[in-house]
C-alpha cells in the first residue's frame, strides 16, 4: 500500500514542532520518544505500521484547539485517533504527522433522561456510554463488536454500526450534536440536545468523515429506553440460498427483528471446533433475535417460526431460558476468536442488497477457491452487511498480498451487485484504492469539496479514504 512521501521540511523541523506542542500542552500530554509512540504506530489494521512525528493526548477541547492552531501554523498534518480500533487503518500515522488521541477525554458531561440524551467527551468508550445510563433503564444503541474498547470519537469518525442496526440505525441516526475543532483551531458546535441540528446537515457530513474534517471532542447522543427483554432463535438450512430466502421472507413478513445474523458452513465448523456451542451440522444458519415483553416475544417468534418452517430448516431451536439463549449466541460471539485460531485473517465489510445474498456467497466461494485460500462468512444479514473473513498465513511470503487481492475481488463483487465497499468499518487506507470501483471521479470530486471547505490546506488525515491520484493536487498545494 502506497503512502505519500513524508514532507522533509516537516521532518527537519521536528525539534521546533515538538517544542511548540510542549508550549501549549501540559508536559505529560506530548509523547515523542519512539519507545512510547510505538503504541500508536497502527490501529487494528496491524498489517500497516508507521511511527508518527509525535502523539499528543489533550484533556480538554481548548487543548485540542491549541494543538490544532499550532499544527496549522506549522503546516503539520494531523491524524485524529479515538481508541485505535479501526479495522480500516483510519488512524494509521505518517512520519510527518502528529497523532491527536482523545483517550484522556472520557468524561460524561451530562445525562438527561427526561430529554433522552447523554453529553460526553468523545474519548469515552462505546460500552461505557451505555454503562453510564443503564441503571436508569436506558442504552446507547450503536454496538460495534469492539464496543468494549472503541471510542465514541472513532464511532463518529467511521459512522459505526453493530449487530442491531436493522432496528436502531447506525451512529449517524443516534447522533444529536458535536463539538468539533477545525484544523485552524476554531471550535464549532453543530446541533445539540435537540432533534434536527438546523441549517445544512453538517452533522451528517461530519459523521463518517474519517477524521478528515475536524477533531470531534464532545458529542450529544440519543439514548433509548431498554426493551423489556430479548430472545434469540437459531435455525439451520441446507443451503445459503434457502437461508437467504428465509431472511427476505422474514423482512417481507412485516417483522423487524433487532438482529438477523448469518453464518456459513466454514464459519459454523470453525466456531464449533473453538467454542463448542452445539450448533447443528448444516450449510448455513441464522440467529434471529426479537425484543419486547415475554408475550410480545412469543408472538413474534411464532410468526418467525411459521415463516422459517416454509423454508424447511434442518434445525430450529428456540431458547427456553437465559442459558439456552446464551448458547445460541455463544458461537456467533466467538466467531472472530475462532477465526483467529485458524490463522491470520482479513475482515471485509461490504454491504449488498439482501436479495443478492445467495449469489454473492456462491461467487465468494468460487473466487476463494481460485485463490486457494479459505473464507468464512459471518454477518448481519438483515441489512446486507457482510463480513467475509479471509484466512491466510502472514508468515508465508506473498500470502498477505494474495488475501488482499481476494478481498479486493470480493468488494468489487459487492459493488457490482448494487452494494458498497464498506458498511460500518470505514474506508481508511484499507479500501482507499478501491473507491474508484464504486465512485466516478466526479462523485469523489463532490466529496472532496466538503473537505476543501473544512480543511482547505488538506492537513487532516489527508492520505486516507480517497485514492492518492484523486487527492494529489490538493495535498501538494
Amino acid at each position: 500500500m502506497e503512502m505519500p512521501q513524508p514532507d522533509p521540511a516537516i521532518l527537519a523541523r521536528r525539534g521546533r514542532i515538538l517544542a511548540r506542542l510542549a508550549s501549549v500542552l501540559p508536559a505529560d500530554a506530548v509523547i515523542s520518544d519512539p519507545a512510547e509512540t510505538r503504541a500508536y504506530e497502527c490501529d487494528a489494521l496491524t498489517a500497516y505500521r508507521c511511527l508518527p512525528l509525535a502523539v499528543v493526548l489533550p484533556r480538554t477541547t481548548d487543548e485540542v484547539a491549541a494543538v490544532m492552531r499550532a499544527c496549522h501554523e506549522e503546516g503539520v498534518k494531523v491524524i485524529p485517533r479515538g481508541a485505535g480500533t479501526s479495522l480500516a487503518g483510519g488512524s494509521l500515522p505518517t512520519p510527518d504527522a502528529v497523532v491527536i488521541g482523545v483517550a484522556r477525554m472520557n468524561a460524561v458531561i451530562e445525562t438527561d433522561y427526561a430529554n433522552r440524551f447523554i453529553h460526553v467527551q468523545t474519548g469515552r468508550t462505546n460500552l461505557s456510554v451505555t454503562g453510564a445510563v443503564e441503571a436508569e433503564g436506558f442504552f446507547y444503541a450503536p454496538d460495534p463488536s469492539s464496543q468494549l474498547a472503541c471510542a465514541i470519537a472513532g464511532n463518529i469518525g467511521m459512522n459505526s454500526g453493530g449487530a442491531h442496526c436493522l432496528k436502531y440505525g447506525v451512529t449517524t441516526n443516534n447522533l444529536l450534536g458535536v463539538t468539533i475543532v477545525t484544523m485552524t483551531g476554531e471550535v464549532l458546535r453543530i446541533g445539540g440536545p435537540y432533534m434536527d441540528a438546523g441549517g445544512l446537515d453538517l452533522l451528517g457530513v461530519i459523521c463518517g468523515s474519517e477524521g478528515q474534517l475536524g477533531v470531534v471532542t464532545e458529542a450529544w447522543l440519543r439514548i433509548l429506553p431498554k426493551p423489556e427483554g430479548a430472545r434469540p432463535v437459531l435455525m439451520g438450512f441446507a443451503s445459503n440460498e434457502v437461508a437467504g430466502a428465509c431472511v427476505a421472507s422474514i423482512i417481507k413478513g412485516g417483522l423487524l427483528p433487532v438482529a438477523i445474523e448469518f453464518m456459513d458452513r466454514p464459519c459454523i465448523e470453525a466456531t464449533e471446533a473453538f467454542a463448542k456451542a452445539g450448533y447443528p451440522d448444516c450449510e448455513a444458519l441464522l440467529i434471529v433475535e426479537v425484543e419486547g415483553s415475554p408475550a410480545e416475544i412469543d408472538e413474534q417468534l411464532a410468526r418467525i417460526k411459521e415463516i422459517a418452517l416454509r423454508h424447511e430448516p434442518v434445525a430450529y431451536r428456540e431458547a427456553a431460558d437465559e442459558d439456552q439463549a446464551k448458547r445460541i449466541w455463544l458461537g456467533r460471539k466467538s466467531a472472530f476468536g475462532a477465526m483467529g485460531q485458524m490463522g491470520d485473517y482479513i475482515c471485509l465489510d461490504g454491504t449488498i442488497p439482501v436479495s443478492e445474498l445467495a449469489f454473492v456467497l456462491r461467487r465468494i466461494g468460487e473466487l476463494t477457491e481460485s485463490y486457494g485460500l479459505r473464507v468464512a462468512n459471518v454477518f448481519h444479514a438483515g441489512d446486507g452487511n457482510m463480513h467475509p473473513l479471509i484466512i491466510f498465513n502472514a508468515n508465508q511470503p506473498g500470502e498477505l498480498e494474495k488475501a488482499e487481492a481476494l478481498g479486493a475481488d470480493i468488494l468489487k463483487l459487492c459493488v457490482e451487485v448494487g452494494g458498497c465497499l464498506t458498511g460500518e468499518h470505514g474506508v481508511g487506507v484499507e479500501k482507499r484504492d478501491l473507491m474508484s470501483v464504486q465512485f466516478s471521479d466526479e462523485d469523489m470530486e463532490a466529496q472532496l469539496r466538503v473537505k476543501d471547505v473544512f480543511d482547505p490546506g488538506w492537513l487532516l488525515n489527508p492520505a486516507k479514504v480517497f485514492p492518492l491520484y484523486v487527492t494529489a493536487s490538493r495535498r501538494a498545494a
Partner: protein
Amino acid sequence: MRPVDEAELAEVVRGANAPLVLRGGGTRGIGVPAAGEVLETGGLSGVRLYEPGALTLVVGAGTPLAEVEALLAAEGQRLPFDPPDMRGLLGRDGVSTVGGVVAVNASGPRRVQAGACRDSLIGVRFVDGKGTVVRNGGRVMKNVTGIDLVKLMAGSHGTLGVLTEVAFKVLPAPEAVATLCVEGLDDARAVAAMAAALGSPYDVTGAAHWPGRGTFVRVEGFAASVRYRAAELARVLGRFGAVTEEDGNVWPALRDVMPFHGAAGDVWRLSVKPSEAPALVAKAGAEAVLYDWGGGLVWLRVAEGTDLRARLGVFDGHATRVRGQGGGPAFPPEPAAVAVISAGLRAKFDPKGLFNQGLMG
C-alpha cells in the same frame, strides 16, 4: 423549465447563467429565494427499483409522494418518517414530490421513533451547479463509503444541487395502532407525561400535545403487542390524568398542523430540548401552539410580523419561520464560524450561484 430526464436537466444547468428557483411540486418550500426562472423536477418521475424483501425503494425525485405511498401500501410497507402535507398550512396547491420531501427533510410525528427523512434516505443522484451528475450513497442501508452527501442534500432546500433520484429504506406498515389521550394537562405536565411515555420500553411512535384538545401517545405493531403496550402506557400516563383511547385521526391532523389552517398569522417551528419548550412557549406570546416529538418540535402561530427570535432570546435549539415574512430570515441565523462553512459548501456545489439564491443564507 421542466426537463424530462437527468441528462436534459444537466444540460439546462450547464447552460444556465442566471438564478433558478427549484421546484418539485411547490407545496412545501419555505423562505424566499431571489427571483429566477423556475426549474421544475416533476418530469423526473418513476419507480426505478422497489424490493419489498430488502426494504428498498429507489424513485425519480419528481415522483409524486402520493404515488410512492400507494405503491408501498400495496405491499404492506411505508416511508418510516411520516412526511407531512403542508398545503393546508401554507395555502398551496400542487402535487408534492419525493424530491421536495427530501429537499426540506420533511418529517412527521413518527420522527420521534423512526428518525427524520434524512435517516431513511440511503442514496441520491443530483446535478450540481456545474451541471455535473453526482451519485452518493446507494441502495443499501449500511453504507459508510466516503463522505455522506446523502444527509447533506436532505434539508438543503435546493441550495446545493437539483435532486434527480432518491433511495429510501422503507419499513413494514403496522398491523394495529393505538392512540391514548390524556385531557386537561397544562404544557409542562403534558411534556412530562410525554417524556414518561417516551422513556418507557413500550416503543412509542408518536407523542404530541394539542392544547385544549389533549395529550396524545401512539403505539404501533402487531395487534396483541399493541394491546399490551397500550395497557402498560395507560398505567404510565395514569399518573398524569384520566386516560382514554381515541382513533388515530389526530395524527394526520397534528402532522399537517391542521389546527393552524385557515387562521392568519406567521407560523414558526422550534427545535428544542422538550423540557425547556413550555417556558419558551410562555415567552412567545403565541396565538396558538402545538407540541410534537414529545415537545422537541413546537409549532407556533403568532401575529404577523412578530420578531419571535427577539422574544425567545438565546436557547438550546433554533426557530424557523415556515409561513409569513416578519422577524428576520426564515432560516435560523448561524454562528459566524458555521455560516462560513455553510457558505463555503454552497459556493463549492453551486459556484455560479444558480440555485435558490439567498434562501438559506
